[in-house]
Symmetry: C2
Subunit: 307 residues, 2 copies
Amino acid sequence: MSQLVAVGTVAFDAIETPFGKTDKILGGAATYIGLAASHLNVDVALVAIIGDDFPQSFLDTFESRNINIDGVEIVSGGKSFFWSGRYHHDMNSRDTLATELNVLTQFEPKVPSDYKEADVLLLGNLNPEAQLAAISQMNNPKFIIMDTMNYWMNTSMAALKEVIARVDAITINDEEARQLSGEYSLVKAANKIQTMGPKFVIIKKGEHGALLFHREQVFFAPALPLEEVFDPTGAGDSFAGGFAGYLAKTEDFSFENLKSAIVYGTALASFCVEAFGTERLLEINNMDIQRRLSMLKSLMQFDIEIH
Amino acid sequence: MSQLVAVGTVAFDAIETPFGKTDKILGGAATYIGLAASHLNVDVALVAIIGDDFPQSFLDTFESRNINIDGVEIVSGGKSFFWSGRYHHDMNSRDTLATELNVLTQFEPKVPSDYKEADVLLLGNLNPEAQLAAISQMNNPKFIIMDTMNYWMNTSMAALKEVIARVDAITINDEEARQLSGEYSLVKAANKIQTMGPKFVIIKKGEHGALLFHREQVFFAPALPLEEVFDPTGAGDSFAGGFAGYLAKTEDFSFENLKSAIVYGTALASFCVEAFGTERLLEINNMDIQRRLSMLKSLMQFDIEIH
């Protein structure tokens, strides 16, 4: 079975939306990535760090999805990373109420030896130094994907550029793509970012979908229009997880196949936002996913005669 | 040849963008609709009102595209509608610098008798009373499309609802769809607007594309990602013109064919924004359009096995 290594946060989240609020629930980028990718039937390993305050039941969640957590370091006496946020009515903007890094400040990724030969490495949004450390432990992966955010552009641009130079694909949101490239046009931004290293640039526009750029080629996948978005937390990471999971499963890193991977990512993200936290990712089965892929196909498919 | 009647403004525009500014150039919703639709080789007639300050050269522009202007009333001694606006750097927001209604306040549409049997009627953004007057002059058109804006919701909701009840399709932007329906979710908004009359609801999201809703079905067309947007003025009307032109040409008002019409509209809008005003719509030929349809096809097409 193809292997996928996901490096990132495993954490506590506390979320408020116009629909309600949660206690400390299972969260973190690697969590969403892992759960989404696990639906593709690939062998997923998480590389992360938590404190010993992390409940066994949360760890059992990973086991229930056959996700390997040998690479999740448990710091005895340490506290797990905690994030809390409140979404506004439009669900596109949010206030961060708390960010307690805790054990995350001492994170030094350790890829389990059984997974050093994995084909696909996905670096969740993290300190670029930690991302570099993970890359250096892998034995020539076929495809490396990274996520990042503006915070690292503001604080660690040099290290970030080193990571960017070593990956095959980067996922980044529209504002961050503009900041990273200094270009307002997303087409120009994506072209400039390609010159920094990645052959593929994926620009995430949240509810407005995602763009995949590769040389002169562009593909666009809209987010599925939903009656209600309940909680957007983890949507971007579920997208990345579905995307990376599909690539690991198919072992085809062509532009054409990346398009399909983007659609898989879009499908997984569309479930994620339907309930708080990881709830929907844990409920759905393959039939649900196939149905949603079909909906995405009708959403985008048209038949026009071109002369 | 199939006929299309477009009712709306023919006007002077003065536009400022980060790239430059224009004098009073040819503008108005009906202008963009007519020029876009004229590329579909249908028999387009404009119904509008201007003053005798309108230069013959602007009217010659319509003749050059075989657009019938018998329904464009010229008020002797009157001044033409004038709009002036300045776009911000993001090209998505703009300040209106001037709106001089002038002869538009006395607009009573008069559909030329040769066009009363037209299959398709497109009502540009206008006073709902004028839209109703145009509908009543037509002899049972097969398909009526209307555009509108928040201003009419705030000032003439009763008349607006009468128009909405009588059309087959409405084009409206996302914020206006929310205002009209009282629903934040665009899916819910579109469903509610369908209960008000139109079988088809088209929600325009500017650079984020357009959604077509019909009962349980949804189709999405992204805007073509461009290196540079030069001037967004008229993009929505060019979209509507391409859409209506395609429907008039094909005389097929099924959901499937409306999808293709949306893609045509998207292609025409993508040209419109590449230069000031109507410049690009006057330059392009059928080969340019076919090439752009092909680009839209690759932008949206993917091949995924669904089980």
